[in-house]
Amino acid sequence: MDNSTGTGIGARVRRKEDHRFITGKGNYTDDINLPKQTYAYFVRSPHAHATIKSINTAKAKKMPGVVGIFTGDDIANDKLGGLICGWMIHSKDGSPMKAGPHPVLAQGKVRYVGDHVALVVAETREQAKAAAAAVSVGYVALPHVVDVADAMGAKAAIHDVAPDNRVFNWSIGDEGATDAAFRNAAHVTKIDLVNNRLIPNAMEPRAAIGSYDTGSESYTLYTTSQNPHVARLVISAFHGLAPEHKLRVIAPDVGGGFGSKIFIYAEEVACVWASKHIGGRPIKWTAERSESFLADAHGRDHVTHAELATDSNGRITGLKVHTKAAMGAYLSTFASCVPTYLYATLLSGQYNIPNIYAEVDAIYTNTAPVDAYRGAGRPEATYVVERIVETAARELKMDPAEFRRMNFVTQFPHQTPVIMCYDAGDYAAALDKALEIADVKGFADRKSAAARSGKLRGLGYSAYIEACGIAPSAAIGSLGAGVGLWESAEVRVNPVGTVEVLTGSHSHGQGHETTFAQLVSDRLGIDINNVAIVHGDTDKVQFGMGTYGSRSGAVGMTAISKALDKIEAKAKRVAAAVMEASADDVEFKNGTFTVKGTDKKMAFGEVALSAYVAHKFNSAEIEPGLKEAAFHDPSNFVFPAGVHICEVEIDTDTGVTDVVNYTAVDDFGNIINPMIVEGQVHGGIVQGIGQALAEGCVYDKQSGQLLTGSYMDYQMPRAANVPNFNLAFTCTPCPSNPLGMKGCGEAGAIASPAAVMNAVTDALDVRDVPMPATPHVVWKMLQPMKKAAE
């Protein structure tokens, strides 16, 4: 396999989609304008928790340009269904999760600052905004609670169905066996961790244009979605807006998602619904960044206590975890599966841990909803496992790398005590490579040199595992999922031999137009420029599950691969008929069909044309045309894994932590385009460094206001905050898909917070430093140490 040139699998092909982006010709939702378009602005709650006594729109309705103002009453009158959570979790006692109502516009109560109260539609953005300010809402404030640690049983009862604010109390693993392991342990390591709340911040704010065609009586919604078909399904089946054939959802170019654009939000639904009520005129809404901060689903927000049992040889014998997971004020689309099946099932990490028991309390807080954010549960799991493993090694005075190595899973398949069955991996190989690239041997010298200039150096490891390509559908259905997680593909070969692939995956930065075309080019032996990837429009692609959880390679491309198998089989039959041979004797290689033992051959394009003109075969035996579809439902998750090593240097005068060296060795199985995969890893690592050192969502306890509501207050990583990274790959091909692919989109964000914080705690020689370890946090920790040293 040539992996440096060409356009096939393994080649660093420059991206086909880039031309439009670098020339300003991208087509994002806010770039689209429809005839007679109006503009939306939302009246939002200024209270964390309050009863709505009145909404007076009379004055606002008289303002210039106002076309319509809608409130929760209009939603109720129209019987528009509320927002749903699509994964049913049952508590330990068997009771179903307590899902409170989540109306598209508030009905009687608001539950977080930014909650959507009314929709104002006007001729211009400015007019809508001015009229929104004139809507008078009478609130009676209620007690509120914003911290997950305090929320259970707090005075603020956020939903009537959950008087103690607990959504569910879920568990996994064998509690009795785990307790026994702890009774017999030689050593127990205990740790308390906070996984800080993050705000996703895709650079393109959410946007929507909803319109209703009075002639065809059908709706169209342009929206910033990672999964337009799921959006259509939910808006159709649960909100009850219109049947699916009367609702088209288009997700054009989307400027980053990171999970936050998976979910079906109130604003998008409100815009498409309200269009019918203003005579079908399109309604455009584009979030201001401050609205993104307030009302995009946030990520993480866990408070965890964990204990790790080891025997006298340093072998891990048990892990016990209790986590309080914030859900925010409402259950977002997939919120419930994140701190459960995407989190606790990964608590075995890369280790052979015979006994694991985890309990999770999911808790309402008066904050924006919390849902999947890059990694979704798996960064939280990795943070617990890798922080406690590192802490145990330090307590046992063992080398953290060797402590990990002696506990690694080495035999595959490996069944963990928490559902997952790891199919393939070589964790020691990644560790060895990482140790070498990071020059861990030279660390002691670098630490001494840093000390001489008054700096503290630390080294931290993170040996992560993740599960992506969530599947098979029947298995996740049994765990409570409301959807199947297969993917679809349709391959259309045109008469001239060019190819269009319609995929249910959606690209919002991942480069599918390139990597998917590489697969087709490789398989059919055609020029990559003769392949077009079509996605993001429910009128073009029949159905699909979208892109998240690093699934589009392992699941989406496998669906394409299966459709290509069918194309090849059909094309062979056509070629056989034309060349007057048996289909069994036709071979296909490098874009040419040949007949075994003869010099007969046909190019792929010739066969395509033959399929469409249908002159040379019996149409009763072979249907004309060359178009095939496939749905692929994987037989297992895929399990990317790797070892990241982070080296930091802390300035003791300022508390500033510099990441001075970062090595990532990842096993993603077979790689289609290393250039794109490296880019995914870079981006993921920086999101994780952001979590560790800079980003933290803060709600004020007293007022319930979001204090980190702009880029002035919420620190996004910038170019000068991060270094270049040293990347390398190992490869154990995934056995559950024909391409041997795993997933690479989230690995960086999963691995890096633990690697950074293990390095920071090593540098400071302390057990824990809270994330984000901002200069202020570190400086404060340094002061008593400095005093003690004086």
């Binding site: 420059r14 991206r15 989609e17 880039d18 031309h19 439009r20 982006f21 670098i22 020339t23 300003g24 010709k25 991208g26 994002y28 806010d30 770039d31 400015e126 911040n201 895709a202 650079m203 393109e204 704010p205 170019d253 989307v254 400027g255 980053g256 990171f258 584009t286 201001e288 960044r289 401050s290 919002h508 930065g509 991942q510 480069g511 250039m675 794109i676 490296e678 880019g679 995914q680 890893v681 870079h682 981006g683 993921g684 690592i685 920086v686 999101q687 702009s710 880029y711 002035m712 996004m716 990583p717 910038r718 170019a719 000068a720 991060v722 270049n724 990274f725 960086g748």
Partner: protein, 154 residues
């Protein structure tokens, strides 16, 4: 509403604007030049960077009326005669973009950096100079590589 004239990407344009109309709104809404993006409301992210009279400006923070009679270059005007600008070429070559949303601002800012700092840029300078541009996808490594290479070939 006052009418203003401006030269945008080499072409004379005119339009009525309100006093409060931002340059980015004039470009996007009146001229249909949607390559310039709005990523925030606090002048932090840099997705809206264009050149006004040869200097990089955040078009979300400039009033259209204050740019009357100026020469404005947006991402759409960077390529000349169908040939990409070396900085555009470098972003593609070095995979300096993923979702593409911050990219126009990044490229416009990068061209400005070269104008001010010269063609031989070291990595620290580039990282420091990109302080006003946020990218959530790339982790910056490939953007820095692209700016370095793009600068050298300008």
């Amino acid at each position: 509403m006052p009418a203003i004239t401006m030269k945008v990407n080499g072409q004379a344009v005119c339009g009525d604007v309100e006093g409060r109309t931002l340059l980015v709104e004039f470009l996007r809404d009146k001229l249909g030049l949607t390559g310039t993006h709005v990523g925030c409301d606090t002048s932090q992210c840099g997705a809206c960077v264009v050149h006004v009279d040869g200097k990089a400006v955040k078009s979300c923070t400039a009033l259209a009326i204050s740019c009357a009679d100026s020469e404005v270059t947006t991402i759409e005007g960077l390529a000349r005669n169908g040939k990409l600008h070396p900085m555009q070429e470098a972003f593609r070559e070095h995979h300096g973009l993923q979702c593409g949303f911050c990219t126009p601002g990044m490229i416009m800012a990068a061209v400005d950096i070269v104008k001010r700092k010269g063609k031989k840029l070291d990595e620290d300078t580039i990282r420091h100079e990109l302080e006003g541009n946020i990218c959530r996808c790339t982790g910056y490594q490939n953007i820095v590589a692209a700016v370095k290479a793009g600068a050298a070939s300008m």
